[in-house]
Symmetry: C2
Subunit: 145 residues, 2 copies
DNA sequence: ATAAAGTCTATAGATCAGGTAGACTATTCT
DNA sequence: AGAATAGTCTACCTGATCTATAGACTTTAT
């Protein structure tokens, strides 16, 4: 399961993507509209800014806005930012690789082989899931109602 | 990431599967060979027994052994037993379904749509990963060396 | 009887998730 | 200049969960 932090981050990003181009949007508005505890959201947005995904403007008329294109922000990146590796085992992650202590031989580990495949497919699907893609799906689901 | 508990459970099960038919194997042997803390392993095996996957025999000559066929024990079931749902969101799980508090409309949620697809594929792959399958993969990896 | 082996109950340290509080800094408008 | 607005930073708290460990108890084979 992803953490609430990640879930809130995704919701906030989709919200900002929908209003992309309208200029800065204040934290309180995002918090209210997306039902996210305000102070908690603060630190989330700060992280997204540090990661180069969002930018902010201080003072009156300020707020947060997307720095990158909605096509280029995907769920895999956001999840990794807040929850760390997506894989089920440390020995099949790319950036956070760690050997399993109790493992006898990684090269011939059947368990690892399975989890590598799972991770590969998962990352593939999550990379495709950009903010634009999410919004596109939402619109498609609405037309199906 | 899966918990150590789940990882240990999988290792113990694969170990037992390899020696299926040899009669009961004592906790200490599994703990030693698989490098699992003995007392921790105890409670894990007890859970697997309660779930109907393992059986045990007390007293001298006792130990644990598989109750089900190695084909019928898969990673999806084991993971669910110890770590709960496999999905990334509570709203796309089957058995543990829960609505996302902050969600406005589940029916048209693009985020949910993506995570549903991810979960579907993941469960599919993990269901195929039976103990027999894991051992088969291990043997194949050995021949490739 | 005795040794072997699983079972049950309790506990403990460490880490982390989720959230709150408040002071501080930068910017804009009048 | 000064008030209002809005993000930034530091610190803290509470409860849950993970990863074990300890020890007494029960069952069984010889």
């Amino acid at each position: 399961m992803i953490s609430k932090k990640t879930k809130y981050a995704i919701n906030a990003l989709v919200f900002l993507a929908k209003r992309n181009g309208e200029g800065p949007i204040i934290i309180s508005e995002i918090a209210d509209k997306e039902h996210i505890p305000r102070k908690f959201l603060e630190s989330i947005l700060l992280n997204l800014k540090k990661a180069g995904i969002l930018a902010s403007k201080k003072g009156k008329g300020g707020g947060y806005y997307l720095l990158k294109d909605p096509n280029e922000i995907n769920l895999a990146d956001v999840m990794r930012l807040f929850d760390g590796p997506i894989a089920f085992l440390p020995c099949v992650t790319y950036k956070y690789y760690e050997r399993c202590e109790e493992c006898k031989d990684e090269e011939t580990c059947g368990i690892r082989d399975v989890f590598f495949e799972v991770k590969k497919k998962t990352v593939e699907l999550l990379k495709q899931a950009s903010l634009s893609e999410i919004i596109k799906r939402e619109n498609r689901l609405i037309t199906l109602l």
